[in-house]
C-alpha cells in the first residue's frame, strides 16, 4: 500500500510541476529545460524554513513557492526583456538548474552540501497532496481558460500581432514564468516533505527533462494531455521496472515517434474530453431500445 501511495504522491507532485510548465512552454511558448531548478529552490527553501526557522509545514511549502517566484523574476526579467526566446531561453534555464545544483552541493552549513538534508518529517500525506494537486490544477485550468491564458496563446502563436493589438508580451511571459515557478516550487516542497530527505541530485537536470518530456509528449496548448503524460512517465517505469536499463531508450523512441506523427504532441491544442462516454451511453441505450422494440414486435 505504501508503495502505491508513494507512486500516487510522485504522480501528483509531477502533475503540479507539469501543469506549471505547461503554461510556460505549452501555452506561452517559452522553452524551459531547467524547470527542476524551481523545484529545488522551493524544496530547499521549504525545508530550511521549517527546520531552521520553525515555520509551519504548509506555510513553509507555500513560501517556498514564492521564493521560487522571486528567483524566477531575477532570472527571467533580464532574459525576457532582452527578447531571449526559444532555444536561447532554454539554455538560460539549463544554466539555471546547473547553477542551483552546484551551488547547493557546495553550501554545507545549512543545506548540507552534496549529502543534502535528511531526517525531514513526512508531513505530506497522500490525501493532502491529492487535495493540493486538485486545487492547483483547477486554478491552472481556470487561468488558462481565462483571458490571461488566451493572451499567452496569442503571444506564443504570433507575438508581433499580439503586441499590435495591445498585449504586453514581456508582462505576459513574465507572468507565465512566475506562475510556473510557483507551481514548481510548491511541487518541490511537497516532494521533499514526502521523501524525508533532499539532496542536490533530487532535482537535477534529469528531472527537468522528465517535466519537459511530459509537456512535449502530452501536447502544446493542452493541460490534460501533459498531466496524463506526467502520470504515464511516472507509472510506466515502475511497471517496466525489469526494463529499467532501457528506460531512456524508450523515452528517445517515444519522442521520435511523437515528433514524427504528432508534432504538436499527443493532445496538442486539444483537451481530453469525456463527451464520447456520454455519446456511447446514448448509442447503447438507443440500440437496446431498438432491440427491445424489435423483439417485442416479433
Amino acid at each position: 500500500m505504501l508503495y502505491i501511495f508513494s507512486i500516487i504522491v510522485f504522480v501528483c507532485v509531477h502533475g503540479i510541476a507539469v501543469s506549471g510548465l505547461s503554461l510556460l512552454t505549452g501555452y506561452t511558448g517559452i522553452f524551459s529545460i531547467g524547470h527542476a531548478g524551481f523545484m529545488a529552490v522551493g524544496g530547499y527553501a521549504a525545508v530550511v524554513l521549517y527546520k531552521n526557522l520553525g515555520v509551519p509545514f504548509l506555510l513553509a511549502v507555500v513560501l517556498g513557492g514564492f521564493i521560487a517566484v522571486i528567483v524566477s523574476v531575477i532570472l527571467g526579467y533580464p532574459a525576457l526583456r532582452n527578447k531571449l526566446e526559444g532555444d536561447a531561453f532554454g539554455i538560460v534555464m539549463l544554466g539555471f538548474v546547473t547553477v542551483v545544483r552546484v551551488a547547493i552541493s557546495n553550501i554545507k552549513p545549512v543545506l548540507g552540501g552534496a549529502i543534502g538534508i535528511t531526517g525531514i518529517p513526512r508531513l505530506s500525506s497522500v490525501w493532502l497532496v491529492i487535495l493540493i494537486t486538485a486545487i492547483m490544477v483547477y486554478c491552472m485550468r481556470n487561468f488558462i481558460k481565462s483571458d490571461y491564458g488566451k493572451n499567452c496563446m496569442a503571444v506564443q502563436q504570433q507575438e508581433s500581432a499580439a503586441e499590435m493589438v495591445g498585449v504586453n508580451p514581456l508582462r505576459t511571459k513574465l507572468r507565465a514564468l512566475m506562475i510556473s515557478a510557483f507551481y514548481g516550487g510548491v511541487a518541490g516542497g511537497l516532494f521533499v516533505f514526502y521523501a524525508t530527505f533532499v539532496s542536490p541530485m533530487s532535482f537535477a537536470e534529469a528531472k527537468s527533462n522528465d517535466l519537459l518530456a511530459a509537456v512535449v509528449l502530452g501536447g502544446m496548448c493542452s493541460l490534460s494531455g501533459p498531466l496524463m503524460a506526467a502520470g504515464i512517465l511516472v507509472i510506466l517505469p515502475e511497471i517496466l521496472r525489469f526494463l529499467a536499463v532501457w528506460r531512456l531508450v524508450f523515452y528517445g523512441l517515444a519522442f521520435i515517434l511523437i515528433m514524427l506523427f504528432r508534432p504538436d504532441g499527443l493532445f496538442g491544442y486539444r483537451e481530453i474530453s469525456f463527451k464520447w462516454v456520454g455519446r456511447l451511453y446514448h448509442k447503447i441505450k438507443a440500440g437496446i431500445g431498438e432491440r427491445q422494440k424489435r423483439t417485442g414486435r416479433g
Binding site: Q158, M164, V165, Y269
Partner: protein, 261 residues
Amino acid sequence: MDGKTALLDIDHMTIAFGGLKAVNDVSIQINKSEFVGLIGPNGAGKTTFFNSITGNVSPTGGGIVFDGHSLTKKRPDQISRLGISRTFQNIRIFPKMSVLDNVTIPMHSAPSYSMWAAMLGLSKVTRQQKETEKRALEFLSDLGLEAYKDREAGTLAYGLQRRLEIARALAASPKLLLLDEPAAGMNNDECNELAELLRRIYKNYDLTVILIEHHIEFVLKLCDRIYVLNLGQLLAEGTPEEIQSNPEVVRAYLGSRRTKQ
C-alpha cells in the same frame, strides 16, 4: 493642413538601418476621418513607415505625434491602446486559435480582472468573457465571418484570413487603421468586394485610414489623398487626380502601367 487638427503628425522622420536610409526626412500630416493612400515601388519604405508608427521600429530622427501623444518612445502595445491598429502585409492571425478568439484578444489585451480572480474562476470572469464574445460576434457578423466563428483560424481560405485580420484590427477599437496591402493576391472581383467593405467600415466605425496598396485602381477609388514614396523619400502628395497627372510620379511608378492589360 494646419498642424492643430492633424490626428497623425509625422515630422521630418528618418529611419536608418546602418547606412541605409529606409525612410528619409519624411513629413506627413493626416487629419481625422481621412482615407489616405500610401503608394510607391517595392522597397520605397512603405512598410517601414508603418512599423515606425506602430512602434516596431524606432525612428533615428524626427518625431511622430498621434492625437497629442508622442509615439517615438512607446512600445507597440501602448501605441495600440492609444488607438492605432494595423493589418500586416503577410497575414499574421493567430493560426491555432478559433476565429472568435482571434477577435476577442484585442478586447482583453489587458484583462479588467486580476490574475487571482482568473485562477479562482470567479463568476465575473465568465461574465466578462461572455460579454467580449458577444461584442466579438458583432465584429465577425459585420465582416461576414460569423459562420466561421468556431473554425481554427489557420484553416480559413486566404481571403477570409485577410478579413479576419481586419476584424481583429477593428476589435482593438482604433482611431487610426493602417492597412498594409489588404488586396495583395486578390482578383478583380475580390478587390471590388474588399473596396466596398473597407469603405463601409471606414464610414461605420468613424475611422481614419492609411492604406498601402499596389493595385493602383484600388487606391485611386478609395482614397481622398495619396502620398507617393520612392526610395525612402516623399515624391508627391495630392488628390488622386493630381497624382495621376504628376509627371514625376508617372515616371517613377505609374509608368509601369503601360505593360498592364
